[in-house]
């Protein structure tokens, strides 16, 4: 029933030309196998993607193959390599779950198909007005080259049974860590989450008047990060393993939190703690914490490489990810718990009701709990932060 209804709704609301074009895409996509390269470190995300794949198969005869990446860079490298080898079509990657620096890299090298987002029927539920979170990925203009699918917010997780709540601002973290020696750490800044931890601190600690949306140069970087390194030098000796080694990524840190080796975790998914508790992967005393001034937020996107073999299938998948029913299922803590990217104001009554009816649990913050969204700095900052940190602290 549901697919039929939504198809009907689609047909009614779209302009005839668009509907016709989309029908062409659907026809082309039929029978295709879409290789979706997406980070595979989270089982619930993997399961959710698999469930989307089941729907895709039933509704559109498109087969979804989730290529589970340890690092998104793997897929980007693949596309770059294929392009370099002169493979301008028939590539091995059809759709990528991207983040800022990788998006920038692919966009700059003209490796993306599109713009295509406006062609997706479900894009009408998105706020695509200038300046909305959906139009910039780490300050890089999206320009229709990638389609949003979930909302990410940087949050801390901590075990309330073992440690007091983290301080309200990043500056207070030095004293807090000193009071809990060896119990606090952050992922290696070579990793996205480790860099985000540094960026969160940078936003709070940078001298007034620093504009992080501009690409940094040597001087602006040095000036902006001087207080950050001072803070970090004070913090580091109190960290886990004396600040000499770090968990490779946030998943390992979550495992350490579960094992009781550390008391702090971090995530880009405010629902991950609640989900992990339900799944037996964290003690049920774990809670989510956000600095009072708010935390970095961004939208997760999917993009189609220019040399993808199954562009039509990839579009159908990107559209399916934006289906209100799929998005509500995604935001349901029993499934994934990731916040939806759809604009509540643009949803119809049924979809609004579906979102309102979603269950809640103690470890799941509400949108209000999360406070204001801090914009991502220009990707140049992340690259330089990683380099500078490695130069300063790698033996």
């Amino acid at each position: 029933m549901k697919p039929l209804l939504s198809a009907l709704a689609l047909g009614l609301s779209l302009t005839p030309a668009l509907a016709e074009d989309w029908q062409q895409v659907l026809d082309q996509a039929r029978g295709q196998t879409v290789y979706f390269h997406a980070w595979g470190g989270d089982q619930r995300t993997n399961d959710f993607i698999a469930s989307v794949g089941d729907r895709l198969q039933d509704d559109h005869d498109v087969t979804l193959r989730h290529v589970r990446l340890a690092d998104t860079a793997d897929a980007v490298a693949r596309v770059l390599a294929e392009r370099a080898a002169g493979r301008d079509s028939g590539g091995s990657v059809d759709l990528i779950w991207l983040n800022g620096p990788n998006f920038l890299a692919m966009k700059e090298q003209d490796l993306l198909h599109g713009p295509f987002v406006a062609d997706l029927p479900n894009a009408r539920y998105l706020d695509l007005t200038e300046g909305s979170a959906n139009t910039a990925d780490f300050t890089v203009p999206v320009e229709g080259l990638e389609s949003p699918w979930r909302l990410a917010r940087f949050v801390f997780t901590y075990d309330s049974a073992r440690i007091a709540a983290p301080p309200a601002d990043m500056a207070g973290m030095v004293d807090w860590a000193a009071a809990n020696p060896g119990r606090v750490t952050h992922p290696d800044p070579a990793n996205f989450m480790g860099t985000t931890f540094l960026k969160q601190a940078l936003i709070e600690l940078a001298p007034a008047g620093t504009d992080l949306s501009l690409p940094p140069d040597d001087d602006s970087f040095a000036a902006a990060t001087a207080p950050l390194w001072e803070w970090y030098d004070a913090l580091r000796p109190h960290l886990w393993r004396d600040g000499l080694s770090f968990p490779e990524n946030e998943s390992i840190q979550q495992q350490l939190l579960n094992d009781g080796e550390v008391d702090l975790g971090m995530s880009f998914d405010p629902a991950s703690a609640a989900a992990a508790i339900a799944d037996g992967l964290l003690p049920d005393t774990v809670r989510v914490h956000v600095p009072a001034a708010g935390s970095i937020g961004n939208v997760s996107f999917v993009a189609i490489p220019a040399n993808a073999s199954n562009i039509a299938g990839a579009k159908v998948l990107a559209n399916a990810l934006l289906d209100p029913e799929t998005q509500a299922r995604m935001q349901n803590i029993d499934n994934l718990g990731a916040f939806s990217v759809l604009d509540p104001a643009r949803l119809d009554d049924a979809a609004t009701a579906a979102f309102a009816a979603l269950p809640t649990v103690p470890a799941l913050p509400s949108l209000q709990d999360l406070g204001p969204v801090l914009a991502e700095p220009h990707p140049g900052w992340a690259t330089r932060l990683t380099d500078a940190w490695q130069r300063r602290y790698t033996r």
Binding site: R68, A85, G280
Partner: protein
């Protein structure tokens, strides 16, 4: 000469050509590609060399020199300690060879990654050992001690020793049957030498010469291992191999250049390690002979033989715990500090088949295909050598076969992946071929002995009864050799299941096997699903190994002369 001889040559030629085309050329071309790219010549990227900039980029990697030292140190320490332990163990347990072989066999079949994942939980600060000690030491929280990923790579060394010692013991057991061990032992003891001294002065020097190739294989593997180093090794900085493989997967394609330089550096590092080991062995031999000339009987040294036995027992306990850990985690729901046992068990992870079944099926098919192809090639080759009356491994072929094993995988594969970019090979086919590259040498080495040991009068008799060469192969050799063939196939299967880099690099991330999934999941937050993959990864080769033991025994249940084959 006459027509039949011509035919004979052609089979020999076919085997040699296949090996050259499928194994030797790719390896050399891969290395060649690395040399070009490593010196800044990569036309597909529009980069023309020669230049030293790839090396400059490589050397500018944070902590690179520490990575280099770390790789050299962990690889050499693991190899030397495994070698000492293996010699000590067979010196002390020489009379118990069959039992020793049986105890070690399951360990030999367990892939490195699975062992590393299990070991990681056993020795982690919140792991089983720490939980056992916690009540006595009053630890309310896991100690903040780096027992895993420690800056010195000790956990990595331990993991490597755990895997390499049984391998070297198996090799030594086979080698020691080639020398008149009992007679020499009796003769020397009659002269008043202790058992340990006989080993040191007489047997070790003879055996070392026989096991040079396996030791080189172990050394090359240990110096360049990636999967175990990811799981057990330090991270800040990691070993050179991990740094290089990260460069290879960097989003910036130009990182291929420093990665290629890294592949060369890894090659050089392996050569350096081999040279150091060779020099150390020469020195040890020289010192040994100097002491020997003084007539040292060293009867008291026999008591020291207890040490390697105790160490081996400890290793076996650790390996056993690691295996049990995998099984238990795979059925745990939650299992937290300081519980010795999960507080809740659940089959949920196993029941969620979509999480592991595809990887298991892919791994199974790749392993079966790669083993079948490699077996066909190996039999063709050995048979070809027989017909040319040049049995066994000789000349350039011997070197060609060993090449994929004594060169670091990383060095070969980085170049190969670069080459494959231009070829329109499906990822699955590329991965299977990559596995054949590393399975084939093991099969040939495993089969060459049994093949050569086959009584030539069997085939002569068959020929005198009018049975042609293919009939002799099909009706006499293969049935008689079914036990070693089965064991070799099981070995090939286990080798294929364990492959990490060939799957990752040649499959371009599109081919997910139990090993790549287990390694990826080991840096995830769900130890249970990693444990399911690792359990399967360890269990499948083990089942195949068991089948390889049972099948020939069943087929030949009434054939006395075929019992007691090596097993």
């Amino acid at each position: 000469m006459a027509a039949p001889l011509h035919k004979v040559r052609s089979l020999r030629g076919l085997g040699g050509t296949l090996v050259a085309l499928l194994i030797l050329l790719p390896v050399l071309f891969g290395l060649g590609h690395s040399v070009m790219a490593g010196f800044g010549h990569l036309p597909v990227l529009g980069v023309k060399g020669p230049s030293l900039s790839p090396w400059q980029t490589l050397l500018a990697q944070p902590g690179l020199w520490r990575s280099v030292i770390l790789s050299l140190w962990t690889g050499m320490a693991a190899t030397v300690l495994s070698l000492i332990l293996a010699f000590g163990a067979i010196a002390a347990l020489q009379g118990h060879a069959p039992r020793l072989r049986r105890v070690l066999a399951p360990l030999l079949a367990v892939p490195h990654a699975a062992l590393a994942i299990g070991l990681a939980f056993v020795i982690a600060p919140s792991g089983w050992i720490a939980r056992l000690l916690a009540p006595a030491l009053d630890w309310s929280r896991p100690p903040d001690v780096a027992t895993l990923g420690d800056p010195w790579g000790l956990a990595l060394i331990l993991g490597l020793i755990l895997k390499e010692t049984p391998f070297l013991i198996a090799i030594l057991l086979a080698a020691s049957s080639q020398i008149p061990l009992r007679a020499q032992m009796a003769a020397a003891r009659a002269l008043g030498y202790g058992r340990a001294a006989v080993w040191l002065w007489l047997l070790v020097p003879q055996l070392v010469r026989l096991i040079r190739l396996p030791v080189l294989v172990v050394l090359a593997f240990s110096v360049s291992v990636v999967d175990m180093a990811l799981i057990l090794g330090p991270s800040n900085p990691p070993t050179l191999s991990v740094t290089v493989s990260r460069l290879f997967t960097d989003p910036d394609l130009h990182a291929m250049l420093p990665a290629s330089a890294g592949a060369l550096m890894q090659l050089g590092l392996t050569a350096l390690a081999a040279a150091i080991l060779w020099a150390a062995m020469r020195l040890a031999g020289w010192c040994g002979r100097a002491i020997l000339r003084r007539g040292a009987r060293w009867q008291g040294l026999d008591r020291a033989l207890a040490a390697p036995v105790a160490m081996l027992a400890l290793l076996l306990v650790l390996a056993g715990l690691a295996a049990v850990t995998l099984a238990v985690w795979s059925i745990a729901f939650s299992w937290r500090w300081p519980d010795l046992w999960p507080d809740r068990l659940s089959l949920a992870t196993w029941q969620r088949q979509s999480a592991w079944l595809p990887a298991a099926q892919t791994a199974l098919w790749i392993a079966l295909a790669a083993t079948a192809i490699a077996m066909l090639l190996a039999v063709l080759w050995l048979e070809g050598s027989d017909r040319a009356d040049r049995p066994g491994l000789q000349g350039w072929m011997r070197a060609a076969v060993a090449l994929p094993l004594v060169l670091p995988q990383l060095s070969i594969l980085i170049g190969l992946s670069g080459l494959l970019l231009r070829a329109d090979l499906s990822p699955m086919a590329a991965v299977i071929w990559g596995h054949v590259l590393f399975v084939f040498p093991y099969l040939v080495i495993a089969l060459a002995g049994a093949w050569a040991a086959l009584d030539p009068q069997l085939t002569r008799t068959a020929a005198s009864l009018g049975v042609g060469p293919w009939g002799r192969l099909w009706r006499v050799k293969l049935p008689v050799l079914i036990a070693p063939l089965s064991l070799a196939a099981a070995l090939g299967f286990a080798v294929s299941i364990a492959q990490y880099l060939p799957t990752l690099f040649l499959g371009g991330g599109r081919v997910a096997t139990l090993t790549t999934e287990a390694v990826a999941l080991s840096s995830g937050s769900d130890r249970r699903v990693a444990a399911v993959h690792a359990t399967l990864q360890a269990g499948l080769p083990w089942l195949i190994y068991l089948a390889a033991l049972i099948l020939p025994a069943f087929l030949h249940r009434d054939r006395r002369a075929l019992k007691g084959e090596p097993g």
